[in-house]
Symmetry: C2
Subunit: 236 residues, 2 copies
């Protein structure tokens, strides 16, 4: 460790890098704090401090007596648990997703802006219907840079229970660090109303999300149309 940045930051970033590169996979356990300290030539307290922030971010999960696991974020409940779709009556929805279309094309102006692309870059546009027990609740349009996600394959033949962020990470090595959502009302277009089985022109909520990578580059611009949702903010 030659750098003059604090050791715990160097250690944190080293771990982060290994996770981002896939050397350490979600679901794996880290070496014990003792072993890490020995390997890195630093003290256990410094290792703890290095992992603390990753735990707070939900990337690692420390389990007393078992070890420290890289969180297998297999659904939006793990990484994006602050954000939920709910039924009009308040019940929480447990959604699966079904692929509708997938196209590679040039981005429109908003997509260029949101993803920091020029008009000649290509994007992959995916539309999905998300439902619970066969009842459609969310219509989704996902736009991602083609360059980063060339290798992405989305099976169309069966429902996806997994969050698409898992596919990004597994297939393309892209990890989502954070997301910003904007919420507006909208009137259901013909495709939205058809999938949600509501009348065209009905009022709906439109959530626009931009998800960014570990390096803070925009990875995804997603639009979700739905009827109600719930946020949990500021967990203890």
């Amino acid at each position: 460790m030659l750098e003059n940045r604090p050791l715990y930051l160097q250690a944190r970033d080293a771990l982060m890098r290994q996770i981002a590169e896939g050397t350490l996979q979600p679901g794996d356990f880290l070496p014990s704090e003792q072993q890490l300290a020995a390997t890195l030539g630093i003290s256990v307290g410094t290792v703890r401090k290095a992992t603390e922030e990753l735990v707070a971010q939900g990337i690692l999960d420390r389990q007393h007596g078992r070890g420290t696991q890289i969180v297998p974020h297999t659904s939006d409940r793990s990484r994006f648990r602050f954000f939920r779709f709910i039924h009009p009556d308040g019940r929480q929805a447990r959604l699966t997703a079904r692929l509708l279309t997938r196209k590679t094309q040039n981005p429109n102006r908003e997509e260029q802006l949101r993803l920091s692309l020029s008009k000649n870059d290509q994007v992959i546009v995916i539309t999905r219907a998300r439902s619970e027990n066969g009842v459609p609740l969310v219509f989704e349009r996902i736009c991602i840079p083609a360059k980063r996600f060339e290798r992405l394959s989305v099976e169309s033949d069966r429902d996806m229970v997994e969050e698409i962020y898992v596919l990004y990470q597994k297939q393309c090595g892209e990890m989502v660090r954070s997301a910003t959502d904007e919420i507006e009302y909208d009137l259901a277009s013909s495709s939205v109303s058809k999938e949600l089985k509501i009348a065209a022109g009905s009022p709906v909520l439109l959530v626009k999300r931009v998800a960014v990578s570990l390096a803070n580059e925009p990875l995804e611009f997603r639009q979700s149309w739905t009827q109600a949702l719930r946020y949990r903010s500021h967990l203890e």
Copy 2:
């Protein structure tokens, strides 16, 4: 320190209590870590750990070489900075609030449910208009248990720049730990449309927030009507 909870939690809560009670005021500096450790009979490292969470929550601000200050959280930017109202064109709003009405009455069914009250408990209902440079952007209805907030006085004669959470804390010793928001669309009622200066029946967003205390008891049920908003989730 007789309790068998971890010392750093006891120390954290002791600090929190003094802040909530007003013994320590926003803007004050804490005693130095050395002094705190000596006073509490614990080690400096444990004091650090006690303050770490409060720093992360934005309640304390550690300044290298100067000391640790209790954040003067004079606006929603400090505690609830994940949640923003935005203009339709994307600019971020900086809001002041103007009191419209204040009444003490019995809660309706939804208010009973949200605040865990029975129908004989009384609530204080406050309505406010929130605006930016005189342009009304949000209409708000705040419902709080009368018992907890007997001493709350809200000046009606001038704009409130301060977040109402500051008043809760200063005047009634009630601190908000977290909040859950639900978002729906609604059609503007006559009072909403009047204050937002839009046509009655226009579509608007309705944010329903329940804020809870340090002890996880519901403190406030708030409804905000607006045209657009933005969430930032999962800060780095």
